[in-house]
């Protein structure tokens, strides 16, 4: 009986370690994407860092309540974006800010670009990115989300539908409309 108890303890400990390891692997895989999504929505590096950490901690709490493993979840990425979206909504509610924000200065743009890009390319990107971000930030919330999730983060229509709790057809319609509005805005900006 003593050996059974030790085995149970060790098995429980191994299971716990496996769960933790799987979660860390998930974190490494998706942290950049979640950070980017939050950054584009909040336009603040500090807030993006805080909220991104909070997203993963909430994810962990959700699975640890039921002692589930990451591998047991069908689409962990969708769940992460769901949590991120909710936290951003809470963030704006607390800060009493408008959902549409713009990254104003060029300094902010250079901060968010990857450190591995050479300076020449960084300079090229800065102006393009700034314009794109400006235009996206003018869109309404659901248009922003579908564009970022489907085109930027390359989630499938099915996954986007799952996150937004809409049908795939509705998501396709949203995407089409969002692209049209964005195209129109970028066109107007380029004329100015």
């Amino acid at each position: 009986m003593r050996s059974d108890l030790v085995f149970c303890f060790m098995s429980h400990q191994d299971e716990k370690n496996n769960r933790e390891l799987a979660f860390i692997q998930l974190y490494d895989q998706y942290i950049s994407q979640i950070y980017r999504f939050i950054l584009l929505k909040t336009s603040s590096v500090q807030d993006a860092e805080d909220i991104a950490s909070e997203v993963f901690f909430k994810f962990w709490k959700n699975i640890s309540v039921t002692d589930a493993n990451v591998k047991d979840i069908e689409n962990p990425r969708a769940l992460l974006y769901c949590i991120a979206n909710n936290l951003i909504t809470d963030f704006y509610r607390k800060k009493n800010k408008k959902e549409l924000t713009i990254i104003d200065s060029d300094k902010n743009i250079s901060e968010i670009l990857s450190e591995n890009i050479d300076l020449y390319k960084k300079a090229e990107l800065e102006s393009d990115i700034k314009q794109t971000i400006k235009s996206i930030s003018k869109l309404r919330n659901d248009y922003q989300n579908v564009i970022i999730w489907h085109y930027l983060e390359e989630l499938s229509i099915k996954e986007v539908a799952q996150i937004m709790d809409k049908s795939q057809g509705a998501v396709r319609v949203l995407l089409h409309r969002a692209l049209n509005v964005l195209k129109q805005d970028l066109k107007n900006e380029s004329k100015m």
Binding site: L5, C8, F9, H12, K16, E20, F23, I24, Y27, D28, I31, S32, Y35, R36, L39, L40, A48, E49, A52, S53, F56, F57, W60, K61, S64, I112, L113, S114, E115, I117, L125, D128, I129, T132, I133, I136, I147, Y151, L152, L179, L182, K183, L186, K187
Partner: protein, 266 residues
């Protein structure tokens, strides 16, 4: 701008990513935060954990330990004291146990018990005699004195039990042991220091005293004339030799009243 160009513009945003320093520190602090929350969770008392299981049966384990200690404790103590000798810590426990046994036993069993205890006293004496031999080799005067003192106390205890001993056979057995004891004592005295000679003399007197007591028991017992074996007869002779050196009026009267003893004295 075509749709493809627009999508490419959107995908340029992939260049936006967190700094490596923040990635490292955030990962580390998240792991710590998770482990802290897990630690707090297990403190609440998860019944599935190993320590939760232990706590569940804590009361039962405590009661079992108490019962085992209460029941087995005295028994273990008695067993441990069985081989103790005078001067040792557990010897008093041994004597208390023996006294208790005598008190709770019936009158029929009392004499038998006392004989058994008398045998134990002699066993102790043998062990003490062995210690005496070692003590003299180590020339530790104080230790020798202590052992001899214990020896005399044990003899006094044996004498007390022998007063109630009625069996001749038992008395002969006791006498044989006393003979061996005397021989061992003589050997031990040979190698002893001058300071302990007086103590050894006292011990020899104590043996003589007990031998006289044994003889008295044998004389008083029935069927004295018919000693069981020749070795028993030798023991009686050995005791009588001792008796001849033992000058008391009481003993002379006893001897006079016995044919076998009269024959030897002649």
């Amino acid at each position: 701008m075509t749709e493809r160009e627009l999508i490419n513009k959107i995908r340029e945003l992939k260049q936006a990513r967190p700094s490596d320093d923040w990635l490292f520190s955030a990962r580390h602090s998240l792991i710590n935060r998770i482990r802290l929350s897990e630690g707090a969770k297990s403190d609440i008392g998860n019944s599935l954990s190993f320590w939760g299981w232990i706590k569940q049966y804590q009361t039962l384990a405590l009661m079992t330990c108490l019962v085992v200690n209460i029941i087995a404790g005295p028994w273990l103590l008695a067993e441990a004291s069985r081989s103790s000798l005078p001067g040792e810590m557990l010897y008093s426990i041994k004597k208390i146990g023996e006294n208790l046994q005598i008190k709770v036993s019936s009158n029929e069993d009392k004499s038998q018990l006392q004989v058994e205890f008398a045998n134990r006293r002699l066993e102790e004496l043998n062990k003490i005699a062995e210690r005496l031999a070692l003590a003299s080799k180590e020339t530790e005067t104080e230790q020798t004195k202590q052992v001899i003192n214990d020896f005399k106390n044990s003899l006094a205890g044996a004498k007390e039990y022998l007063n109630n001993t009625v069996s001749k056979e038992k008395a002969v057995v006791v006498a044989k042991k006393a003979k061996k004891m005397e021989e061992d004592l003589i050997k031990a005295r040979e190698g002893a220091s001058k300071e302990t000679q007086a103590d050894f003399a006292e011990a020899e007197e104590a043996i003589k005293d007990i031998k006289h007591q044994i003889l008295t028991v044998i004389i008083n017992s029935t069927g004295y004339d018919s000693v069981a074996t020749s070795s028993d007869e030798e023991i009686v002779i050995y005791l009588q030799d001792n008796k001849n050196n033992y000058e008391t009026s009481t003993d002379c009267d006893v001897v006079t009243g016995n044919n076998a003893v009269q024959k030897e004295s002649k």
